[in-house]
């Protein structure tokens, strides 16, 4: 199960809406082994595409070095689908390389850049096997570490 606070959930959805019709992508980092997505990091989709996303290579390195120095890992890796359902594509499955991460998919196909419900779903993707999991949204706490 993915447990994520409301503020982070809203930030992911807002990013997906803003970048529609291109795919949006990013990470929510958290302390290693904690399974707590705490630090929201929006990434640029270097592919700038409605059907593909890829973190820029130098930004990817900077992200991982930063997480390393903070003893964090990518707890959530999110991206949007803009014309299809919020389910991992064949490419998503083939390229998934963080066995500890929750892969979050948001679909903006219904309302695009506008307000309105979006699909927000979470998966584990390990060795080509996709397992959907429940998402629990918790109220955002006042302070954060």
């Amino acid at each position: 199960m993915l447990t994520i606070d409301q503020e982070t959930y809203d930030a992911i959805v807002a990013h997906a809406r803003r970048d529609h019709p291109d795919e949006a992508c990013g990470v929510v980092a958290g302390p290693e082994g904690s399974d707590r997505p705490e630090r929201f990091i929006e990434m640029v989709n270097a592919a700038g595409s409605p059907t593909f996303y890829e973190f820029d290579s130098s930004e990817l390195l900077a992200l991982y070095k930063d997480m390393d120095s903070r003893e964090e890992e990518p707890v959530v890796i999110y991206h949007s689908h803009t014309a299809t359902e919020a389910y991992p594509s064949r490419t998503d499955i083939g390229l998934a390389s963080e066995p500890n991460a929750h892969y979050v998919l948001v679909s903006t196909r219904e309302h695009g850049n506008n307000e309105g419900p979006v699909e927000f779903r979470s998966y584990r993707i390990i060795d080509g096997v996709v397992t959907e999991e429940d998402v629990t949204i918790t109220p955002t706490e006042e302070s954060s570490s």
Binding site: C25, V27, M43, A47, T51, F52, Y53, E54, F55, S57, S58, L60, L61, Y64, K65, E73, P74, I77, H79, P88, S89, R90, T91, D92, L95, A96, S97, E98, P99, N100
Partner: protein, 90 residues
Amino acid sequence: MAIEVRIPTILRTYTDGAKAVDASGTTLTALIDDLEGNHPGIKGRLIDDGELRRFVNVYINDEDVRFMGGLEAELSDGDQVVVLPAVAGG
């Protein structure tokens, strides 16, 4: 000659869980061959058909090797190599 190679989570099955290992080589190709000697199987995850895999990023001292000659990129003692799978999808 020791070069530190940072190993991503998904490839730590080849390094007994180690986040970083030492290897040697004067080019990236030689370094990967040396890695393969100690961690059999890892080479195939980095190289396909004689080329660096499209969705594997390798950095030497923070620079993407694609801008440094790819597998022919030169290495010297004390360099740091980082391997990171691309975060990408469709």
